[in-house]
């Protein structure tokens, strides 16, 4: 299992990759592929078709690594991005889906990719998007946080901080010296 191919073969792979993805396109009708460069593909897909796409990519095209799942809050809907990497062809495919804002629920892909557990839990904590079927949905980072999901654009962290915390006067001698020389904080 050592992927030590020479560079020529790799280039062929890039070309063949488009063909593989095109084949998958035919099987899933709601798919839109965009090639950004040799090693980056962007795939837009409907939310319902994503699990099928991931299974196909993993099973047929050798995309064995789920690099990450990113969530973007577009204020009216969430965008989920699944970054998949193939060790054989050395291509990264980002599958983008959009899901509705309320109720923010989606299906888990834990059964296809084990690492999804971590990212889905993270998105659940940070955005409140619940993933059905994931065994790792208990809190991990924000176990002692009782506020709203903090990564939502609607959560104003500055306001929260001003409500919650005080500031102390901090005027050490060296700062006073600088201020005496005319230094000040640029705002």
């Amino acid at each position: 299992m050592v992927w030590d191919q020479d560079k020529e073969a790799t280039k062929d792979n890039y070309a063949s990759q488009t063909i593989v993805l095109d084949q998958i396109l035919h099987e899933l009708d709601t798919l839109n592929i965009e090639q950004k460069n040799n090693q980056r593909f962007r795939v837009d897909v409907s939310a319902e078709a994503l699990p099928a796409l991931l299974s196909l990519l993993k099973g047929r095209a050798g995309y064995t690594q789920l690099s990450a799942i990113s969530c973007v809050d577009w204020e009216d809907e969430f965008e989920l991005v699944y970054h998949l990497w193939s060790y054989e062809t050395k291509v990264l495919v980002s599958a983008h889906i959009r899901i509705q804002y309320t109720p923010a629920v989606y299906v888990s892909v834990y059964d296809i990719y084990t690492p999804a557990g971590f990212f889905e839990r993270d998105i659940y904590e940070m955005y409140g998007v619940y993933f059905e079927g994931s065994p790792m949905m208990e809190k991990f980072i924000l176990t002692e946080w009782h506020g709203p999901a903090p990564m939502l654009k609607s959560f104003d962290t500055l306001k929260y901080v001003n409500d919650m915390f005080n500031w102390q006067e901090y005027q050490p001698d060296w700062l006073k010296e600088i201020q005496a020389k005319g230094g000040k904080v640029v705002s």
Binding site: M1, V2, W3, D4, Q39, R40, T64, Q65, L66, S67, A68, S70, C71, V72, D73, V81, H83, Y87, K90, L92, S94, Y113, T114, P115, G117, F118, F119, D122, M126, F140, I141, L142, T143, E144, P150, M151, F155, T157, L158
Partner: protein, 381 residues
């Protein structure tokens, strides 16, 4: 005490008890916790507990200017901060379509590889300390400090450098400085044989580390393991070569692999990588000495009113822990719309650690954690 810390558990019939590794425990790397349930000295179940280092980085970055975030990103991973800057800079450059000068890329590689050497020396020290070999820790961390000195001379920062900025680097590095680095590398190579004698060839260490925390290639792939941990299973994957960035495609280096997949193999992979990094840095020094260009960054707009074109990008960098990725989304504004950080340890420190520790022995918990080189701040962000 607090209900939120412990979901009520009934007293187990099987006489197991709970033991907490961390956050205040020498067997844990940084501020992190691993709750284990033990029977005798056998780990029955393990559960990682993070969030002690959570600062809300991603939220903070959304609230700051593109240029301000340069100061913020290296703080995501403390022992190995340069890849963080690098990854962010690559992303912004991709969005802005910057053409980065060649010399800047080589300077960046210099930084990256020195940082990798420092991080690996630190990891050896930590790993040695978990098995009670303190002299290796004392030596390794002292030698790492010499690299930090080089950083300080080059960038002005000892730990956090903020040297790499989108579009290039902040300063050039002179020939004298390169000579100093070259001398340091000579010294380190000499020291490596000492480390070999003391640590890597130490029979008792080998006895302890061999067959501890074995990852099979299949497990490694399905659990999302990357970096040296993956290479220790015999899978030669390295972002530097396979998803090449900067000028790594012009540099000659081997991908260090081992086949056993245990703590010893992971350690030996790092040991080999250390030698490879020294080799790479020597190439970079040669290039930088020959190259007479002084162009180290491209033209960047007024940083206080810098609007990055709308778009999204996914950039990956090989850090000393594994594959590090940033997903950056811009809506054309002065601040990032969304930055998602995928630290390599987010896999290693949670799912992989839990699974490797379970079924093992109490003696090996700390060793497995350090052999995975898990870095909690990357997990918590």
């Amino acid at each position: 005490m607090r209900a939120e810390n412990y979901q009520a558990v009934t007293h187990p019939e099987s006489h197991e008890f709970e033991l907490n590794f961390g956050p205040n425990h020498p067997g844990i790397e940084g501020n992190y916790a691993l709750k284990v349930r033990v029977n005798g000295d056998k780990i029955v179940a393990a559960k990682a507990d993070g969030g002690y280092l959570h600062r809300g980085f991603e939220k903070l970055m959304e609230g700051r200017l593109w240029i301000q975030n340069i100061a913020l990103v290296p703080r995501i991973c403390v022992p190995d901060p340069v890849p963080m800057e690098m990854c962010y800079a690559l992303g912004v450059e991709d969005l802005c379509q910057f053409e980065v000068p060649e010399r800047a890329n080589w300077l960046r590689v210099l930084q990256l590889e020195l940082s990798r050497i420092a991080a690996h020396l630190f990891t050896f020290g930590g790993h040695a300390a978990t098995v009670g070999m303190y002299s290796n820790m004392f030596w390794g961390i002292a030698d790492r400090d010499l690299i930090l000195d080089m950083f300080e001379q080059m960038t002005g920062g000892r730990v956090y450098h903020m040297y790499t900025i989108p579009g290039g680097v902040r300063r050039d590095v002179g020939v004298e400085q390169l000579d100093k680095i070259s001398d340091l590398l000579d010294y380190l190579e000499k020291r490596l044989s000492d480390y070999d004698n003391l640590f890597f060839n130490n029979k008792i260490f080998i006895q302890r580390a061999r067959d501890t925390g074995i990852l099979t290639p299949k497990q490694a792939l399905s659990w999302g393991v990357t970096g040296p941990n993956l290479r220790a299973c015999g899978l030669a994957f390295d972002v530097r070569r396979d998803d090449a960035y900067l000028c790594y495609d012009q540099i000659d280096f081997d991908i260090a692999t081992e086949t056993a997949g245990d703590a010893l193999a992971r350690n030996l992979v790092r040991r080999k990588e250390l030698a490879q990094s020294i080799y790479i840095v020597r190439q970079v020094i040669d290039y930088l000495k020959k190259d007479k260009s002084t162009h180290i960054r491209c033209q960047i707009p007024n940083p206080l009113a810098w609007k990055v074109p709308a778009g999204e990008t996914y950039t990956r960098v090989e850090s000393s822990k594994g594959e590090l990725s940033f997903y950056i989304v811009s809506n054309g504004g002065e601040k990032p719309y969304r930055v998602h950080v995928r630290g390599p340890s987010s896999m290693h420190a949670v799912q992989v650690l839990e699974k490797l520790v379970t079924g093992g022995r109490l003696e090996d918990v700390a060793q497995i954690m350090f052999s995975l080189d898990a870095c909690p701040p990357e997990v918590d962000r």
